[in-house]
């Protein structure tokens, strides 16, 4: 039976040989320190850290990792020791976040050697701290106990160790950081093969189709709608050969996904069974502290299934999406029912001749209205109860999101570093319903993209009518496109995402300036008919080449130096500057491109290409329509509510985009 500890709580330990499992969702350093009966650390030889991973009774990993296992043998620690503290710290000077407030709450579990969990603790409420005392194992009257501590230090390990009375605290903290930095440099960040596990997600990670996209209305029925989000077949056509370096003899290994840095080349200690690699369970998700009786449990970020924090958060967001959709459906159906019942009753009153005499009719009408109001009030109460819970969940989930899932105003973007891995999904904006205006569900789409995007610059589809000025609208659309493109560039590892721009008349130059100035585009925006033809020609050829190679089973015979990155083509002002040949090439790219890593982002008003008639309908249908302003055109896959979509735009005056893009540009230069 696991005890889920809250801060300050203790729990007896019956075993002396223990394992401490830590999972944090981001690489962290784990240190174990011995203390005397006053909690003082006598010297550096009482600290097991990545530079000196074994001390009597202690063993810690040599490097920073998202998941750790520490071994503790309480019988083997010196007599003078009365306390063993487990310390966590964020690596200094790396690419990761610098404060625990920016990462998911770390989870610590004490287990026996048989794997049975004795106690666990989720360290919540950390903010600017970069080091934290997670747990303490302490000797009390001859018996050992564990206590959840959760004491954080903004000054990092140095401050923490000083506080524990270690004379050489600063020196030791420096040594630890050096050892971690070396460990990071040593570990090989292999581009991970996205196996089936990479695509593992909530089964209903299915479709949000706009009503105007001809999708099957997701009603009860046997037809599973096609999805912009849904998982794609592993190793299927979505993954062109060159994207997936093959490791000879390597079977698809889910562990590759779960242990990004721990089990790669540099790690000297491998705790897993050598021949049973697939069986190692992922670290347990953070669990909610026990709820007070009669109260719903406090929500916790990452409280969902998954092999990594990222996947858990993804699933949690989808869970919130579904719950909000269904809760609202319950409310709407109750209100509809109340109204239809009232209408029926009022009609009955009208048709009953007796009601014309005296006050009977009025009384009956009044009764019908009261019944209606009562039911609606009950429904509202149930809705409010659920919304309160979801809002509380959103409040903890939103700050815990990694950059790819986070809004631009999330502080995590200020700590942005160019990632080493493609994230599971990307946030394109927020979704909300009129009943629950305060709850914004992140709209996450799976990466790599499975369909192109269409940023609709037409004012027609927009409900509020405040953007009747088509120039303002197209500028806004282009800015939205730039924000999305920048986000895509930022979440892909250096050199794995390339953006091309077609801007025939140069009308998007102002909006494109951040991309152009940062130097993250493959080439300056192509203008004029010749530029259009050139860019389309090259991309068409590329798709054709990769397609041939993949179909011929000769993916490795592509010319050396072939750029295997994903390509995004932003097309502004379509169809200006497009001749018939160019339109055909564009249609080819829309059809064949996504499977071979070439995606479209059309910034266009559909009306302007109406001259082509129905010819282009399949093109528009194949794209995920997004709007530059809030618009309720997206449907959820469960009950088909119309959700209001709001694009992920930069806060006015924010410099985040420039900062992020300059890092992307710097990483690209290094990569080249």
């Amino acid at each position: 039976m696991t005890a889920e500890l809250v801060r300050g709580q203790n729990h007896p330990l019956s075993q002396a040989r223990l394992e401490i499992r830590i999972s944090a969702g981001t690489p962290i350093v784990a240190v174990a320190a011995l203390g005397d009966d006053n909690g003082r650390i006598h010297g550096v030889e009482w600290v097991a850290h990545p530079g000196a991973p074994t001390q009597p009774g202690l063993e810690v990993p040599r490097q920073a990792a998202a998941d750790h296992r520490l071994a503790v043998d309480l019988d083997a620690v010196p007599e003078a020791v009365h306390r063993v503290s487990v310390l966590l710290a964020l690596p200094v000077g790396g690419t990761g976040p610098a404060r625990f407030g920016a990462v998911a709450a770390p989870f610590v579990a004490v287990t026996g050697l048989d794997g049975g969990e004795v106690a666990s603790y989720t360290i919540t409420g950390l903010e600017a701290e970069s080091a934290v005392v997670a747990l303490e194992l302490y000797r009390r009257q001859g018996a050992w106990k564990v206590r959840a501590v959760g004491q954080g230090y903004a000054g990092g390990l140095a401050e923490l160790l000083t506080d524990q009375g270690l004379p050489q605290a600063h020196q030791l903290a420096g040594n630890i950081n050096d050892a971690v930095a070396q460990g990071l440099a040593r570990s090989v960040q292999a581009p991970l093969p996205r196996t089936a596990d990479g695509d593992r997600s909530r089964q209903a990670a299915a479709p949000a189709l706009g009503p105007d996209q001809g999708g099957t209305a997701p009603q009860p029925g046997p037809v599973p709608p096609m999805s912009p989000y849904g998982g794609q077949a592993p190793g299927g056509p979505g993954q062109p050969g060159p994207q997936q370096p093959s490791y000879p003899g390597a079977a698809p290994d889910p562990n590759a996904v779960t242990q990004p840095s721990a089990s790669t080349a540099g790690a000297p200690i491998d705790y897993s069974h050598p021949r049973r690699q697939n069986a190692a369970p992922p670290p347990p998700p953070p669990t909610a502290p026990p709820a007070a009786p009669g109260q719903p449990a406090q929500p916790v970020a990452g409280d969902a299934t998954g092999w990594s924090m990222e996947e858990r958060l993804y699933n949690q967001v989808w869970g919130m999406f579904e719950d909000l959709a269904r809760t609202t459906a319950a409310y709407r159906s109750a209100v509809d029912f109340a109204e239809s019942r009232m209408d029926k009753e009022l009609e009955q009153v009208l048709s009953d001749p007796r009601s014309r005499i005296g006050g009977q009719g009025d009384a009956a009408r009044e009764a019908a209205r009261t019944r209606h109001a009562e039911l609606v009030a009950q429904a509202r109460e149930a809705l409010d109860r659920d919304l309160t819970q979801l809002a509380a969940e959103a409040d903890v989930v939103e700050p815990a999101l990694p950059p790819a899932y986070a809004r631009w105003d999330n502080p995590v973007w200020h700590a942005y570093r160019v990632p080493m891995e493609i994230p599971m999904a990307l946030r394109l904006g927020d979704l909300h319903l009129p009943e629950a205006d305060r709850i914004r569900i992140p709209m996450l789409v799976r990466l790599p993209l499975e369909r192109g995007l269409w940023i609709d610059s037409g004012a027609a589809g927009v409900s509020d009518g405040s953007f009747t000025d088509s120039h303002a609208m197209s500028r806004l659309a282009m800015e939205t496109a730039v924000a999305h493109a920048a986000r895509l560039l930022a979440v892909y590892p250096a050199g794995e995402f390339t953006v091309h721009v077609i801007d025939p008349a140069g009308s998007g130059a102002q909006s494109l300036a951040p991309l152009v100035q940062a130097g993250v585009l493959a080439a300056p925006p192509a203008g004029g008919a010749a530029g259009v033809a050139d860019v389309l020609g090259r991309l068409t050829q590329r798709v054709d080449l990769v397609q041939m190679a993949v179909r011929g089973g000769a993916a490795d015979s592509l010319p050396p130096g072939f750029d295997t990155s994903q390509q995004l083509l932003i097309v502004n002002d379509f169809p200006h500057g497009f001749d018939d040949r160019a339109v055909n090439q564009l249609r080819y790219l829309a059809d064949e491109g996504p499977a071979f890593g070439v995606h479209l982002m059309m910034v266009a008003d559909r009306e302007e290409s109406s001259g082509y008639g129905p010819l282009l309908d399949p093109l528009w249908r194949s794209l995920l329509r997004l709007t530059p302003v809030a618009d309720d055109h997206l449907a959820d896959p469960w009950v088909g509510h119309a959700w209001t979509y709001e694009p992920a735009l930069l806060p006015p005056g924010s410099q985040v985009l420039q900062q992020v893009l300059s890092q992307v540009a710097a990483a690209r230069t290094k990569f080249m």
């Binding site: 009860p220 959709a325 269904r326 319950a330 029912f337 109340a338 019942r341 039911l375 429904a379």
Partner: protein, 188 residues
């Protein structure tokens, strides 16, 4: 539980039930001799129909596994049955606390989709379980039941603050719940 008996879903300790499961289990048709794979599989289906004021509002069955509001969930269609030793082969979970306020009755039904009558099915049963502790509230034996292909098992309806379950066990005929609607309406 016997036919027509009603039990309140208030727990003994005063708390009310928050989640119930309707489980359905039956034994797969035995394999016979040569071309054994050509046995006639038995496919029973469990469904739940949600009523508001005697109007059907939503239904949970193998083509619509979750009610729109998310409170009633079907664990998935089983086409062949199980070992016939008492385990559920299909189940419908009801989260009573989240059932929309206007839904006042939920009727559970069982149909033989492949057309065998309950006389031909072996070890078939249907039961209601308190999901919070796994305790069985009611159990029916279907097998050897007679020349009919469907049964209206039970209904769960609001009474006061809580819910009450009434065992029905009315025989009927039909392939899916739609065919049963005429038989369901009188029991509401």
């Amino acid at each position: 539980m016997t036919k027509g008996q009603a039990i309140s879903l208030q727990k003994n300790d005063g708390g009310s039930l928050t989640a119930v499961r309707m489980g359905l289990g039956w034994q797969a048709a035995p394999r016979r001799g040569l071309f054994g794979s050509r046995t006639r599989e038995i496919d029973l289906d469990a469904s739940a129909v949600l009523f508001a004021d005697k109007q059907p509002v939503d239904v949970v069955f193998f083509r619509h596994l979750v009610s729109d509001d998310g409170s009633v969930r079907h664990t998935g269609d089983n086409l062949v049955g199980g070992v016939g030793q008492g385990g559920d082969d299909e189940a419908i979970l009801v989260d009573l606390a989240r059932v929309p306020v206007h839904i006042d009755q939920i009727v559970f039904t069982v149909n033989s989709f492949t057309g065998q009558t309950f006389q031909e099915v072996q070890n078939a049963f249907c039961r209601l379980v308190d999901e919070t502790n796994g305790q069985e509230l009611a159990r029916y034996t279907l097998a050897g039941g007679g020349q009919y292909t469907a049964q209206i098992m039970a209904k769960v309806h609001r009474s006061g603050q809580g819910w009450t379950m009434t065992a029905l066990g009315n025989p009927a005929n039909g392939r899916t719940f739609q065919d049963l609607m005429p038989a369901i309406l009188p029991v509401l």
